[in-house]
């Protein structure tokens, strides 16, 4: 199979793409029997060669969000430079039944640009904080992308035909002299090279004083919410000059501020219900039917603190960095610095499951506070059937927890380990004592290589993992 090194699209972007064929081999889990093997589908390195409006810097290629759409056909990534890159899954052809669909670049566009707030004399970052897809309702795709202050609705559509045979224009587009026209014809649509264009359809601006950390599309598909550190606003897709404030935790006196909103999400089925998490490790579920301003929660989820683990860093590590509803809508998953917790909506006083992501860091909290790693915001995701949860860690490791079998695995997303025919080998961190051959010791972990953003295909076992400016797509082969 020949893969071109460069792919040119109608919008003249050039990318380097690496693709790997899929082997079928066994993978060894930490405990037998193996039930799933993860193999590399492809890696994509953001490496923009085309001239850009802004000076290119390696840092602007850092991927800041990853999201599959509702069918899994498209995968969107946003980066620190304000760009959005959309990948589309190749259709499986009948000739190559064994070849799974791979993801190729479908479209790329500049979603947000750096701005300067003249009133406050502050720069507004163009980094894309979140991307959320709208369910597809026609041939075009719609997504929301947001930076710190502004949410934009983008329409991504294809054009593969163009009209030819105009009367007033010639083939090159020059106007014809009407006096020379003697006959009339009807323009016809002729096929052309596929062109994917992205147009901003709505811009929702000037509604947030603080930094937007979450957006969530409601199940009614008519509204969505955007959450910043202290407020949550409800928008209608059609109306850009108004939004409703539904949560406001800003104290009258900012000197009394001790808690901020860290993430928010709508319930997947009940359009009146949403949750938001806080920096104190609490989750509040609110019902918009109760009142216009949902300052009083309907449910309050908090786990009592373990007094034996108390330290100066207890609050910081309890701060929730991500909250996600399960696809069923029955559970919520939260990610704090060291653990992932699954909560049943019907039980508020403690989570039903707690998974240790990297507990070996508990004794290193002081150093992690010193180098600011303790403030890293990791995300977490459910698989399509809500049976497996995944989250990232350091050293380009990411972890998966099977809720049914209670097994977990640590995998690594790195170029060295993602060669063709590569199967991901489970990794293990050695806590103390003798280090075995394949293990890595805690002190050797690279804390600059962190996996903050991951995504899971809605129905298949395909995952996307963002490691700095690299995007990895892995797929499993069930034996």
């Amino acid at each position: 199979m020949n893969y071109p090194d460069e792919i040119t699209y109608g919008n003249k972007e050039h990318f380097r793409l690496a693709s790997f064929s899929l082997p079928s081999s066994l993978l060894h889990w930490s405990k037998p029997p193996p039930s799933r093997t993860w193999t590399v589908v492809m890696t994509y390195q953001q490496d923009y060669l085309s001239p850009c409006l802004y000076p290119l810097s390696a840092l602007s290629d850092i991927i800041s969000t990853v999201e599959f759409n509702h069918t899994g056909e498209l995968l969107a990534t946003g980066d620190k430079g304000g760009r959005v890159v959309i990948f589309q899954r190749e259709q499986e052809s009948k000739n190559q039944v064994h070849r799974r669909g791979e993801y190729n670049v479908y479209s790329t566009f500049q979603s947000h640009e750096p701005e300067f707030d003249y009133l406050k004399s502050l720069e507004i970052e163009e980094k894309i904080n979140k991307i959320r897809w709208l369910p597809q309702q026609n041939a075009a795709y719609f997504l929301l992308s947001t930076n710190d202050k502004t949410v934009k609705l983008w329409k991504v559509s294809e054009r593969d035909k163009r009209p030819e045979g105009y009367n007033l224009k010639d083939e090159e587009g020059r106007l014809r002299d009407p006096a020379t026209i003697t006959t009339l014809r009807v323009p016809v649509l002729r096929p052309m090279d596929l062109m994917v264009e992205a147009t901003p359809r709505r811009v929702f601006a000037n509604a947030h004083t603080y930094h937007i950390n979450s957006i969530s599309v409601n199940s009614d598909y008519e509204t969505y919410m955007s959450a910043d550190d202290l407020r949550i606003n409800l928008w209608n897709f059609e109306i850009t000059n108004q939004s409703f404030n539904i949560v406001d935790i800003k104290p009258a006196n900012m000197e009394e501020l001790t808690e901020v909103i860290t993430a928010a999400e709508f319930h997947p089925h009940h359009c009146n219900t949403f949750v938001y998490s806080s920096s104190k490790g609490t989750i509040r579920l609110c019902d918009m039917r109760a009142s216009a301003l949902c300052d009083r929660h309907t449910k309050f989820f908090e786990e009592p603190e373990d007094p034996s683990n108390r330290s100066f860093f207890s609050e910081i590590i309890s701060s929730i960095s991500d909250v996600k509803f399960s696809h069923s809508g029955r559970y919520i998953m939260t990610r704090d610095y060291l653990t992932v917790k699954v909560w049943d909506l019907n039980m508020e006083n403690r989570p039903i499951e707690t998974y240790q992501v990297h507990d070996y860091l508990r004794s290193k909290l002081c150093s992690l506070y010193e180098n600011d790693c303790i403030f890293d915001k990791f995300e977490c995701v459910w698989n399509g059937s809500d049976s497996v949860i995944m989250t990232g860690s350091y050293n380009n490791f990411f972890r998966m927890f099977d809720r049914n079998t209670k097994r977990d695995v640590t995998l690594e997303a790195s170029r060295e380990n993602s060669k063709p025919r590569a199967i991901l080998k489970p990794r293990k961190v050695c806590v103390g004592g003798k280090r075995r051959k394949d293990e890595i010791s805690v002190d050797s972990l690279d804390f600059s290589k962190k996996i903050l953003h991951t995504a899971w295909h809605p129905s298949e076992n395909i995952i996307a993992v963002a490691a700095t400016n690299n995007l990895y797509i892995f797929q499993d082969k069930v034996n």
Binding site: K80, L122, E125, S363
Partner: protein, 308 residues
Amino acid sequence: MPHLGLLHPEPLPLRQPTADPSNTVLSQSLRGLWVLVHTSRRGGRLHGDPLWVLRGPALRPRPSGSPSLGGGAGGAGGADAGGQGTMFARGLKRKCSEEEAPADPLQRQSLLDMSLVKLQLCHMLAEPNLCRSVLIANTVRQIQEEMTQDGSWCLPGPQTAGRLPRDRLVSTEILCRSARAGPPQAPDPADLASALQAVPAIQVPGAVPAGPWGRAGPGESRGGFPRSLDQVFETLESHSPGTVEELFSDVDGPYYDLDAVLTGMVGGAKSGPEGLETFASAAAPPPGTGCKADLGELDHVVEILVET
């Protein structure tokens, strides 16, 4: 231009640990505070009277061999990129032990210093990360509460009590009065005092707000430090000569500027709800140039202070 999320192209140059660790601490905290003041349009509230802070750490005796403030400066502000190569910030001395929480007071003090530096540094960013600031401030508060319970903050010795020229103290008084007159919430000196273990020698009542968005009212915590306040007033009256006066005698110029800036800033800005925003809209030097000029001035001041 893409925002790099880094505080500076490189970490702030820290003074190398000298034989006397207290100088390092002083310059570290001092540096942070000075910069904050001069970029106050983004900095919001200050951690109390900088003069006060200067006195504090410099005067608190440190046992020899104590770890110097490696500081979070190198890592502060770094988000996805930045100096987080290995677990320990590059080139900076690791000062936290491997244990989970600094149990002994010295480590707790180091943690406190580091937290304050982080708080101050993060205000120099284009726009401070509110979540991070809140978390660090809560940590500071927690340490301070524990220190209060332990009673482990130091009391000033006679020679170390605030021997500042009276006019400087007066100026901060004026400052604080104007701060109190406007906004409903006056800043909390006691907070800062213990926070810096600043030998609450100079607990001027109603000092400039501590914390990025201001702190609790004075009434709440001030009651906890009556002794030190009394001592402050005593020393104010006594006027006996001391080393501190000599320490600060050479730096009249920048201090007066500082006072002017503070007074003008507090007078012009209304505190309260929109702490950060109002400070931003208050008169402020232009970004970039003012900062650099002030850093140069800061270097000069630090040199003088530490050599004395």
